[in-house]
Amino acid sequence: MKRLLLLLLCLLVQPAWAIDFSADERALIESFGPWPPPMQPDPSNRVSGRAEAIAFGRALFFEQRLGGDGKQSCADCHLPAKAWSDGKPGTGGLLRNTPSLLDIRWNRWFGWDGAQDTLWAQSLRPLLDPVEMNSSLAAIAGLLRKDATLACGYRQAFGTAPEADDERVAVNAAKALAAFQETLISAPTPFDGFRTAMAANQPVPAEFSAEAQRGLKLFVGEGQCAVCHFGPGFTNREFHDIGIPYAVRPGLVDPGRHLGIRRLRDSHYTLLGPFSDDPARSTGTETRHVDLLHRNWGEFRVPSLRNLAHTAPYMHNGSLATLRDAVRHYSELNEERLHADGEKLLRPLNLSDTQIDALVAFLLSLSAALPDFPEAEPVCRVKP
């Protein structure tokens, strides 16, 4: 009788699963969290995680005088209301989609081609790029020396007034920008609630629909999406060719990772370079051993799948307008674009409309509402 009662009790508290997940699938789903992961300071950036640098970086992020024309800030392309992206298909010389900055601190490589291996180097790049902010080391350093408020913010962040060395000042500004961007972390999502409930064998939260559960089943099963999109960030943090065309215009293609590796090798703003604050170069192993391969031509970074609801359009060139388009791309994959011995995993999924709906529902469950981004207090109150 006791056993019968126990069984009845178990049945009563059994979660309302739309479908069953195998033990392997449950383990995989478990590995998609917890969110957010533990936060470690970036050892290559001595002001990573420091409040003064975060405040200074925030001020710089919205500072239009950092643009070469004195009228362009980082926030002009990375809009808080658009999950720190811009919603446009492509910008810059290679017409790449502006990536969201949410959760960027967990990237291994930065930019669609991974040409930077730190967030501070990635923050410096658009400042100096002639087709983006078109500034210079001298102009950035000059502004920080000349403007009393910014000079004060610099002093608070780095313990010294802006130095005479332009490059040092500009790199430090980039490190403050990085410290700020490290704080841009997305909130837990309906999927995270489901994952937590599943681990505790609790009922499925109402906001994680039956359709999203079916999508999750496809994601970890038949679709094999989790081979590349795994872990709490839903990315392997590397690069692949998924059959998206990468011609920019007649006569110009975007070489993607191939160009990124060449740029990384040519740069001294890396984990192995003189501006890294980590004398042990403890995080530089992958930079040291990165190889330039034929397959890198036309590969692009595997993005996180978090925040997708806010970051349309999709792919490195923003060529797919909606999430449905993105799922359909994998469903109708053009195998002709892939090498027979290259991306062996990729084959057309041939999904039904119902399956596409389910996958889209699941992907949407990886987004939380964007918080308001209130104006900050001035970084310093300097008497005129």
């Binding site: 060719d241 007649p250 031509w297 195998e335 002709e336 674009r337 892939l338």
Partner: protein, 289 residues
């Protein structure tokens, strides 16, 4: 900045390409200016808009290619390039009318009619690149294609495993095969195949394991491959493999890469693999009749 980077790269290579002729005529080419015989290029239907024929030929010349073996799905792309640059392009007839035939052609009887029509109309140095693995190499369509290659005295550009190569060589012991990507096999296996089959050559397209090139552009041949290259210097060729249209813009970069790693070999071996083997095997074929 990005546009400038690519523009500079192209300009630099253009100058290199222009300098080639005089260097070759003057004597043994230095490794950095070595001509390249590219044995593995495709110009399929979806490439024509992305890289128009004149642009494709321009790229081949900028890369400093001495000759380029080109196949396409369908064959029209190859003929477009050959018509524009008969001195440069060596046509290879692919048994595909579209690239998705890759997994069905060997069971499609109409492939033979297609090949026969093209062979009757145009001249080629080979049939390929075709994909075939294991026992599929003995399917009737493949057997008939092998006989067509024999009839027209053409090489077979075979992308497949060692078993497929050996099955074709059983069908025609005199068959001459260019083994695409060296079968993506291990160097000792490739070497054993070359030891066993004197009419087998191997291209190194889309492989990186045979050598690395560092940030300064200095190449280093992998020890396991060095022995194979020294032993079979007459049997290897390089190739880019433009399997997607945008990869045409990689031909120049690939030629640079090839020169860089070949420079780590004795110059006579590098010259053979870089261009002389291709020249010896294929370049005269269209002049013979």
């Amino acid at each position: 900045m990005r546009l400038g980077f690519i523009g500079l790269a192209l300009t630099g290579l253009t100058l290199t390409g222009l300098g080639l002729t005089s260097l070759v005529l003057a004597g043994p080419a230095r490794a950095a200016d070595m001509p390249i015989f590219d044995a593995h290029l495709h110009y399929s239907h979806d490439a024509w808009n992305v890289v128009p024929p004149a642009e494709a030929v321009k790229i081949l010349r900028q890369a400093g290619l001495r000759k380029a073996m080109v196949s396409s799905s369908d064959d029209e792309g190859t003929q477009k390039l050959h018509a524009l640059a008969p001195d440069l392009v060596l046509p290879v007839l692919r048994p595909y009318r579209k690239r998705s035939d890759i997994s069905t052609w060997m069971r499609d009887d109409s492939v033979i009619d297609y090949l026969q029509q093209r062979l009757a109309r145009y001249r080629y140095v080979g049939i390929g690149e075709f994909h075939i693995y294991g026992a599929d190499a003995d399917l009737p369509v493949v057997r008939r294609m092998v006989q067509l290659a024999k009839q027209y005295k053409l090489y077979l550009h075979l992308h497949g495993d060692a078993e497929a190569v050996q099955r074709v060589l059983v069908q025609d012991q005199q068959a001459r095969i260019l083994w695409a990507h060296s079968g993506f096999d291990q160097p000792d296996k490739v070497s054993a195949m070359l030891d066993k089959h004197p009419a087998l050559w191997a291209d190194l397209a889309f492989r990186n394991d045979q050598a690395s090139v560092d940030a300064a552009g200095k190449g280093k041949v992998a020890p396991a491959w060095r022995d194979v290259f020294m032993r079979h210097a007459d049997r290897f060729l390089v190739g880019t493999d433009t399997f997607a249209p945008e990869r045409w813009y990689y031909v120049i970069e690939h030629a640079k890469y090839s020169r860089a790693w070949l420079a780590d070999l004795p110059s006579d071996v590098a010259d053979k693999i870089g261009w002389q083997n291709g020249e010896r095997l294929f370049a005269k074929m269209l002049e013979a009749d």
